[in-house]
C-alpha cells in the first residue's frame, strides 16, 4: 500500500520514508489534520510512524489519528503515540485517537495510558 502524506506535514520527512513504510498506510481522508492509520504497526515499521508523529510534535500541533483501519499495533507503536501525547500535552495540545478498535482501547486501558489527559481515546462503535 502506498503511503500518502498529509501535505501539512514536513515533506522532507514523510515522502523519504514512504518506501520503507512496509505494511501500514497513513492517509488524510477526513479533512486537514486528521490522519488515518491503517494496516499493521510493529517493529518492522514503527520508526516510520515515529518520524511522522515527530514531525507533528515539532510543529506543536495537535494530532488526530483515525485508527479504524488498524489491524494490529504493538506496544512499541502505541508507545510512539503515547510519547507524542506526553510531549504535546506539555504544550497544551493533545493526541486524539478516534475509532480505536476495541482491542487497542483495551490495551491502552491496561497500560493506564488512557488516563493521560492529552491522550484522548474514542473507541470505535462495535
Amino acid at each position: 500500500m502506498p503511503l500518502v502524506h498529509d501535505q501539512e506535514f514536513d515533506d522532507s520527512v514523510v515522502p523519504g520514508v514512504a518506501l520503507a513504510a512496509g505494511n501500514f498506510d497513513l492517509v488524510p481522508p477526513n479533512g486537514p489534520g486528521v490522519l488515518r492509520l491503517g494496516g499493521i504497526v510493529d517493529a518492522s515499521n514503527v520508526h516510520v510512524l515515529s518520524r511522522i508523529v515527530d514531525a507533528a510534535v515539532r510543529q506543536g500541533r495537535g494530532l488526530v489519528l483515525d485508527l479504524s483501519g488498524v489491524s494490529f499495533i504493538d506496544v512499541a507503536g502505541l508507545g510512539v503515540l503515547y510519547d507524542a501525547a506526553v510531549r504535546l500535552g506539555a504544550r497544551g495540545v493533545s493526541v486524539r485517537l478516534v475509532a480505536a478498535p476495541a482491542p487497542v482501547a483495551k490495551v491502552l486501558e491496561i497500560l493506564g495510558w488512557h488516563e493521560l489527559a492529552s491522550l484522548e481515546v474514542e473507541e470505535a462503535l462495535a
Binding site: 517493529a43 494490529f72 506496544v75 512499541a76 491496561i110 497500560l111 493506564g112
Partner: protein, 308 residues
C-alpha cells in the same frame, strides 16, 4: 505513610472472622480511611450484618469478580488505592483469597501473587488484611499464607509471621517447580521468520483449537510482545509451540538467551519509562495465565487462554 502492611488472618469460624475483621474495618472508618472488602458473598453478608448502619461507606466486591487472575487483581487493587488514597490518608482492604478448582499452574501463580503483593505494593499507603478460611481452603494454601505474609493478625493484634519468606526467595522456590510436560504433538514455528509469520501462526493455531474470536487479538498481541522480547534478548534463536490441554490453549515461546536479569520483571506495573517488562506485564493481563521460567540456558514463557 507510604508503607504496606500485609497481614494474614487464619480463621476457622464466623466468630473468628468477625472478631478480627470488624475491629479492623471500624478502626479504618474511624480514621476516615477508604475501606474495601473483597470476599465471598457469604462473608460480605456477615460483615454488613455486624457493621449495621456503619457498613455504608465500605466498598464491597465479591472475590470471584475481583480476583479473576493474579495480575488483574494486582492492577485492580493498585488502581483502587491510587484513586482513593491521598493527603496522608491510607486505604484499608480486606482481601480474602478463594480457591476454586484450578489447574496446578494457576494455583502456583496465585500463591506467587500473595507474596508478590509485598513488592508490588511496597510503596502504597495500604493495609491489606488477607483472611484464610481453614474450613474451605486446602491446607497447602493456608500453610503458604504464613510464608507469603510478613505479619499475622488476630483479635489480639498484629505480630511477625515466623514462617515468612522473602518474596524473591519464595518466587524462586516456586520457579523450581518445573513446567508441565508438553504433549507429544505440538504445532511448532522457529523464530527466524517475520513477526507477521508468528502472529499468523498463533492466530491460525488458536482458531483451529477453538479459542473465541474476541480473545484472538489479545492472545496475538501477547504472543507478539513475548516473541519480540525473545528476539531482542534471546540471541535470535527460539521457537513458538502451541497445543491444547485441559480446556485451554497454550502458546509457548522459548529462547536460548541468557535469561532475565530480574525474575520479578513483568509482575509489577512498569513505570513511566517504556523499558523492559512492559510486554510481559501486558501479556499477563491479556491472557488467563502466564508462566515464566528463566535461567542461563534460556527463557520459556507460556501463555494460556481458555477455550470457548
Amino acid at each position: 505513610m507510604n508503607d504496606l502492611v500485609h497481614p494474614a488472618l487464619v480463621y476457622s469460624s464466623d466468630e473468628d472472622f468477625l472478631a478480627t475483621n470488624i475491629p479492623f474495618l471500624r478502626e479504618g472508618l474511624g480514621a476516615g480511611e477508604r475501606t474495601l472488602a473483597v470476599t465471598s458473598r457469604r462473608n460480605i453478608g456477615l460483615l454488613t450484618d455486624a457493621l449495621g448502619g456503619d457498613a455504608a461507606p465500605v466498598d464491597f466486591h465479591e472475590a470471584r469478580d475481583w480476583l479473576t487472575t493474579p495480575w488483574r487483581a494486582l492492577l485492580a487493587y493498585r488502581r483502587y488505592v491510587n484513586r482513593h488514597a491521598g493527603n496522608d490518608m491510607r486505604v484499608r482492604v480486606i482481601g480474602e483469597p478463594f480457591a476454586p478448582e484450578r489447574t496446578s499452574a494457576a494455583a502456583i501463580e496465585w500463591t506467587r501473587y500473595e507474596s508478590m503483593i509485598n513488592i508490588a505494593f511496597a510503596d502504597l499507603p495500604l493495609t491489606i488484611l488477607c483472611p484464610y478460611d481453614t474450613r474451605t481452603l486446602p491446607a497447602a494454601v493456608v500453610d503458604h499464607a504464613l510464608r507469603t505474609h510478613p505479619v499475622v493478625m488476630d483479635e489480639a493484634g498484629i505480630a511477625p509471621s515466623p514462617d515468612f519468606v522473602d518474596t524473591r526467595a519464595f518466587s524462586a522456590e516456586l520457579d523450581r517447580i518445573g513446567l508441565e510436560e508438553a504433549p507429544s504433538r505440538v504445532a511448532e514455528l522457529p523464530l527466524n521468520g517475520s513477526l507477521d509469520d508468528v502472529r499468523r501462526f498463533v492466530v491460525e493455531e488458536a482458531r483451529r483449537a477453538g479459542v473465541a474470536s474476541d480473545v484472538l487479538p489479545d492472545l496475538t498481541l501477547a504472543a507478539h510482545e513475548i516473541v519480540t522480547n525473545a528476539r531482542t534478548h534471546g540471541r535470535g534463536r527460539g521457537v513458538v509451540r502451541t497445543w491444547t490441554a485441559e480446556q485451554e490453549f497454550v502458546c509457548e515461546v522459548a529462547d536460548t538467551g541468557p535469561g532475565m536479569e530480574d525474575p520479578l520483571v513483568g509482575h509489577v506495573e512498569p513505570g513511566e519509562a517504556r523499558t523492559g517488562g512492559r510486554g510481559l506485564w501486558l501479556a499477563r493481563h491479556l491472557c488467563d495465565l502466564v508462566q515464566v521460567r528463566s535461567g542461563p540456558a534460556g527463557t520459556v514463557v507460556r501463555l494460556h487462554v481458555a477455550l470457548a
